[in-house]
Amino acid sequence: MAQFQLDPAPTASGVTVHILYFARLREILGLGEETLTVAVGSSVASLLAALAARGEVWEAELGGQRLVRAAINQELAAREAILPDGAELALFPPVTGG
């Protein structure tokens, strides 16, 4: 499991987020999961912006040009949703089951 630290650097009051990538996103990013520490009060949107800032495929997939769905602790979450400490954040393309 990869361990990244995002800017701004996590503080003592940072929250830990376990991120899961699914389907096309997992394949293109070349990563199934990772754990990050982000500032308290970070939203899904701010985390996505931080991930997109990694550039290249991260920017292409998460920078807003493609649809990405988010779920926090296995519940669909809006972009404004605040990440709780220890959250499981899943990021995935629009679903295509059934």
């Binding site: 699914f22 096309r24 649809l67 779920a71 296995q74 899943a90 679903v95 295509t96 089951g97 059934g98």
Partner: protein
């Protein structure tokens, strides 16, 4: 209380047996069913679909959709079974069974469950055809199908 059964599994399911589990409820007058299966491409050439899902969230989301259907219509039973893994042409993917006293409730709830499942349950299909793999894109028509349940 409606009987709700949710299963997410790799192995196949038996449509007749699942139907039979609901057929013995005395208050039931109508059972609507839907089976989705792997459809061959118009000119042939499909090797398989591979279905990925999000274990844990999938079951929760399917249960929530079934619960919502039970709140909206007077239902006696709802069964939702969805497979994952590699599925060849004609393989079954999904089964939704709905039992109710009346046929319109059964039909509508069955279609409602499918419309929400298609747009909210975390499954993704990868298509293998002509030696190439590609992820299936979501259809705007599926979103539209779900949205009509908000309007009515």
């Amino acid at each position: 209380m409606a009987r709700i059964a949710i299963r997410v599994q790799e192995h196949d399911f038996d449509v007749g047996a699942e139907y039979a589990l609901l057929a013995g409820i005395a208050e039931v007058g109508a059972i609507a069913a839907f089976v989705g299966q792997v459809r061959e491409l118009p000119g042939g050439g499909l090797s398989a679909l591979t279905l990925e899902h999000y274990p844990g969230m999938t079951e929760k989301m399917l249960a929530r959709i079934a619960d919502a259907a039970c709140e909206r219509w007077p239902l006696d039973a709802v069964t939702v079974i969805h497979r994952f893994g590699r599925l060849e042409p004609c393989a079954r993917i999904v089964l939704v069974l709905v039992a109710s006293a009346h046929r319109h409730a059964a039909f509508e709830a069955c279609e409602y469950v499918m419309d929400y499942l298609k747009t909210e349950a975390p499954f993704w299909k990868k298509e293998s055809a002509f030696g190439k793999d590609s992820w299936v894109e979501a259809h705007a028509s599926d979103e539209a199908a779900r949205e009509r349940w908000h309007a009515s």
